[in-house]
Symmetry: C2
Subunit: 341 residues, 2 copies
DNA sequence: GCATAGAATGTAAGCGCTTACATAATATCA
DNA sequence: TGATATTATGTAAGCGCTTACATTCTATGC
């Protein structure tokens, strides 16, 4: 009775079977006789045996781990998707290995390599824009892969998400319907962030169609933080007090914008309309409640789990594109353009 | 030139050295001559070699992975701690394996076992209350371990955090100073959540010291969601319209309470004082800005990374308790008790 | 009762690394 | 210059599993 942690051999000895049988008992239980199974279970109990994941992974070339890299977990909307991805995987006895890139493509590449070398059976990334080497690296490992949070009918890669361009269009149309012509934008940094870029372009295009253009000075990019957005709106309005509608890159930014408007005693939506993006839970409890776009984060997470598991099961790498809808949620922060007196 | 993924042997052959040298080159670079190192690097490049994490872990009995289990990642305050834990680990070339328990001790135990069997070099949990088997399992694996988000001078286990009882006391004292006597509580579920329980007890004790008691009917426990808190405050005020101060278990709950107060046209803080807990970024941008307790989430994450890495380095499991402070942040949601007219 | 198919179990060869130990190359010093 | 300490590299034995293949057992039909 030594004190080192028990291995499969110890279990085998105790149960008077071979290690192969113990292994089968763990992985393909119905291939071993119930009575033998019983004996093995008892031995496992007695010894407190826990299989070594490393050995298992090495021998079977499967880790039962899925990797995911998100820009940040510090955003309720990503966390929600992850929670659902995770619970879908857990149900199938898979584990999620989570990393975050901090919105940097280089960092993302590093994380991808780290995950791949660690051994993962599938990977999910956010967005479609990645370091070119990312795609090479993944292809080489030949594991299921999906771009989450994005839908592009032309994409060469599997994707699950919604069309950010369309979402931007919806936002712009809504504001246009209300009569707005003086637009401002507070966006997350668009470099390396195709979602932010597309949302903006959706707005831009829609306005262009009716002959409107947003000058550069009315477009502010900043970090996704309440404080930054607050500053940004102040800056925007200092430069362009004529602005009547501000579209924010996400709800966090919109909250910052709302606070800045309040600081300026600007009535929302009477004097200034503000839109968010994502539909975080608290946005409907704000006062005024935020007009925003609903990101189907829960469904994205679920679909991702389902897709990856399916591909693993079939040992395939079939291309699949799943489009989810992102509806405009009209609440109280958008209203008719103020009449010019 | 076969097509299977290259192994260390392929690199060794290409660079005309032994596998041992390649391994050293990867792990202890200064033990190999610069020119040889050069040759090996080139071979690695050419072959696109990526070491197998599983083989590495099996041979070295180290996975370079730290596990963490939090109640939920769907809360900005946990994510912030995790981000800092993660970046601390990444800097030392460690990876964070994150799981969440959904505030369930059984689920937490399951996750602990999953992490342990997967092989981790250290583990961090949240709070001090865990399934008894959790401690057994961890002890057996003899890896560094710390309870985050809690400080208890008597604890048998390492902990990094703050004293929730004290925090509750601060909150109560503040409200008492303002003259309140009619208190309500909206708390997260206290079963299995020592932090929530202690915060509440801190309040309760402080009131008791001045002869005040909170009747059961003025204490509502609910899920940490804005919507739940909104409902809870309505319920509380329906039953006890005399309430002048409501202390919420965290900021998310406070936001829900604020929205309910608004729905009832109750002026905050003139007619009702509300407190939160955590000091999420957006709380200072709310209107009125939220009075809350600052949870040092960033520092907790950093300290956790530091402690775990230190223990691994020293191959020790030294007990260490780090107390951080959680200050009361007085803003606009708390004010003098309304005069009874 | 016996041949035969199918199920249950065993044997043993890896999986791709790390590392103790052995050996070879190089530096150091009297 | 040769003996010795130091450094760099090689050899090979695992790490703890899985799994192809071989073997044994059991059930079945005639």
């Amino acid at each position: 009775m030594t004190n080192r942690t028990p291995t499969i051999a110890d279990v085998a000895e105790q149960a008077e079977v071979s290690t192969a049988t113990v292994s089968r008992c763990l992985n393909l239980p119905d291939k071993v006789k119930p009575e033998v199974r019983e004996r093995i279970s008892k031995a496992i109990q007695q010894l407190g045996y826990v299989p070594s994941g490393a050995a298992r992974a090495l021998a079977s070339r499967r880790t039962h781990t899925i990797g995911a890299i998100v820009p940040t977990i510090d955003n309720a909307i990503f966390s929600e998707a992850i929670q659902h991805l995770q619970s879908g995987l857990t149900r199938a006895n898979y584990t999620l290995l989570l990393a975050n890139s901090g919105y940097s493509l280089d960092e993302e590449l590093r994380e991808v390599n780290s995950l791949l070398s660690r051994g993962i059976d599938g990977i999910v990334l956010v967005g479609e824009m990645h370091h070119p080497k990312v795609y090479d690296a993944i292809k080489k490992h030949a594991i299921p892969y999906v771009n989450l949070w994005t839908y592009n009918a032309q994409s060469k890669y599997s994707c699950i998400g919604f069309d950010h361009l369309k979402a931007g269009q919806q936002l712009a149309e809504h504001l246009l319907d209300l009569g707005h012509t003086e637009f401002g934008i507070i966006s997350g940094f668009q470099e390396n962030n195709d979602r932010a870029l597309l949302r903006f372009q959706g707005i831009q295009q829609t306005l262009k169609n009716v002959g409107l253009e947003i000058p550069e000075s009315k477009i502010i990019e900043c970090r996704y933080s309440v404080e930054q957005a607050n500053k940004s709106l102040h800056e925007l309005l200092d430069r362009h007090p004529e602005t009547t509608a501000v579209s924010c890159g996400n709800d966090v930014l919109a909250i910052g914008a709302l606070s800045a408007a309040r600081e300026r005693s600007l009535k929302v939506p009477e004097q200034l309309s503000i839109t968010g993006f994502d539909n975080m839970e608290l946005t409907r409890f704000l006062s005024p409640a935020l007009t925003t776009i609903n990101s189907p984060s829960k469904r994205m997470g679920e679909h991702a789990a389902e897709y990856i598991l399916e591909q693993i099961q079939n040992k395939s790498t079939e291309l699949k594109r799943i489009e989810l809808t992102a509806e405009l949620v009209i609440r109280e922060t958008t209203g008719k353009v103020p009449s010019k007196t």
